[in-house]
Symmetry: C2
Subunit: 191 residues, 2 copies
C-alpha cells in the first residue's frame, strides 16, 4: 500500500489511533488547560533493596482518569546487596527513556502517515557506584553518560527518519526530563 | 533491641547485608575501577504505544554479571491513544526516582545501624502534553515539576532522619540523573 499524504492520514496507523490523537491535540490547542496532566506513583518499602510501586489514576484532559492500575517492584542485584527480585531503579530509568523515545517516534510517524515495520534500541548507562555506596564524598554521583542506539525500519527516506528521530528526542517527556534539570522537591516527615 | 553504635553494625540490618555493602565499598575505595558499572536495557516496539524492554546482564565490579533477567512493557492509557496494557514511560520514571531514593535511604540507614519500620512515599509529576502531541512548537516539553513526599518510621531522631533523607537525595543515582543534565547521545540508523 502506498504511503498516504499527510492530509489524508486517518484511522489507525502503526496501531495508533491517529484520529483520536489529532482530536485530542485539537482540543488542547483550543483549551490549553486540557493538556495539563498529573501522573502519580505511590511506593512502599518492603525489605532491604525491595520496594513496591502502585500506579493508578491520573489527572488529564480536565478530569480524574480511573485505571485498575499496576504494581511494579524495584530491587537490586546480589552484587549491590539486593535479592535480584526485579530490575533496579537505574534500569527502570533507562527503560522509561527508551520507551518514551520509541512511543514519541511512533506517534509522530503515524501522524505523518509513515508506516513502521520495526523499531529496536539498546541503551547503556555508565555509573560510578562510589557516591551511592558512600565511599566517595564528592557529589553528585549519578550517571556519567547514557547512550541510546536505535534501529528503525519504516517506509520513509533516511532524511525523513532522521527528522522523526529528532522530533522524538525533542518532544519525548522523559528525554526532556533526562536532558535538563527540572524543579524537583523532596520532603520527608516522621510518622 | 537497642540501636547499635555505628562501629558495631554488622550482619543484616533492615534486610540489608551491611557486611557485604561495606566490603564492596572498601574494595571500591582500594580499586576505583571496580566501581564502574554499566547498566543496559534493550527495547523492541510491539504496536502503537506498546513496547517491550528486556533487562539482563550488567557490567560491574570488574566483570560481566549474568542474570536471568526481566521483561517489562511500556504502554499508554486510552486517553493518550494507547491500550493501557502497562504503565507509561513517565510513570516508570517516577517509579525509578522514588525507588532509588528509598533504597539509598535504607542502605545508609542500615550502614549507620538505624532500624527502619516503614517507608512510604507519593510522587506527582506535572506535564503539559502539548509538546509531546505536537500542538505546541516551543521545546523542551518535559515535566514542569515533580514532587516527592516521604513518610518514614525509624528508631532515630527527626534530625537524624532529615540527615538520612539528605544523604539519599545527594547519593541516589536516579535523583542525580533527574536533578541535573547528563551527557546523553541518541543515534538512529535505518535497517
Amino acid at each position: 500500500m502506498a504511503r498516504q499524504t499527510r492530509s489524508a492520514v486517518e484511522g489507525s496507523v502503526n496501531g495508533v489511533d491517529v484520529d483520536r490523537l489529532k482530536s485530542t491535540g485539537e482540543a488542547m490547542k483550543a483549551v490549553p488547560g486540557l493538556a495539563k496532566f498529573t501522573f502519580r506513583v505511590n511506593n512502599r518499602w518492603m525489605k532491604g533493596a525491595l520496594n513496591r510501586t502502585t500506579i493508578g489514576d491520573f489527572h488529564g484532559a480536565g478530569a480524574e482518569n480511573h485505571r485498575d492500575g499496576f504494581v511494579i517492584d524495584n530491587a537490586q542485584p546480589a552484587l549491590v546487596a539486593g535479592g535480584d527480585e526485579a530490575p533496579n531503579p537505574v534500569e527502570y530509568l533507562l527503560h522509561a527513556l527508551v520507551g518514551c523515545l520509541t512511543t514519541t517516534l511512533v506517534y509522530h510517524a503515524s501522524i505523518q502517515g509513515v508506516r513502521i515495520q520495526a523499531v529496536e534500541s539498546q541503551v547503556e548507562g555508565q555509573l560510578d557506584m562510589r557516591s551511592f555506596l558512600g565511599v566517595r564524598e564528592d557529589y553528585p554521583g549519578g550517571f556519567e553518560g547514557v547512550n541510546v542506539r536505535f534501529q528503525v525500519k519504516a517506509d520513509c527516506s533516511e532524511a525523513e527518519l532522521a527528522h522523526l528521530m529528532d522530533v522524538a528526542r525533542r518532544r519525548s517527556p522523559v528525554a526532556n526530563f533526562v536532558l535538563r534539570a527540572v524543579p524537583t522537591s523532596v520532603t520527608c516527615e516522621a510518622m
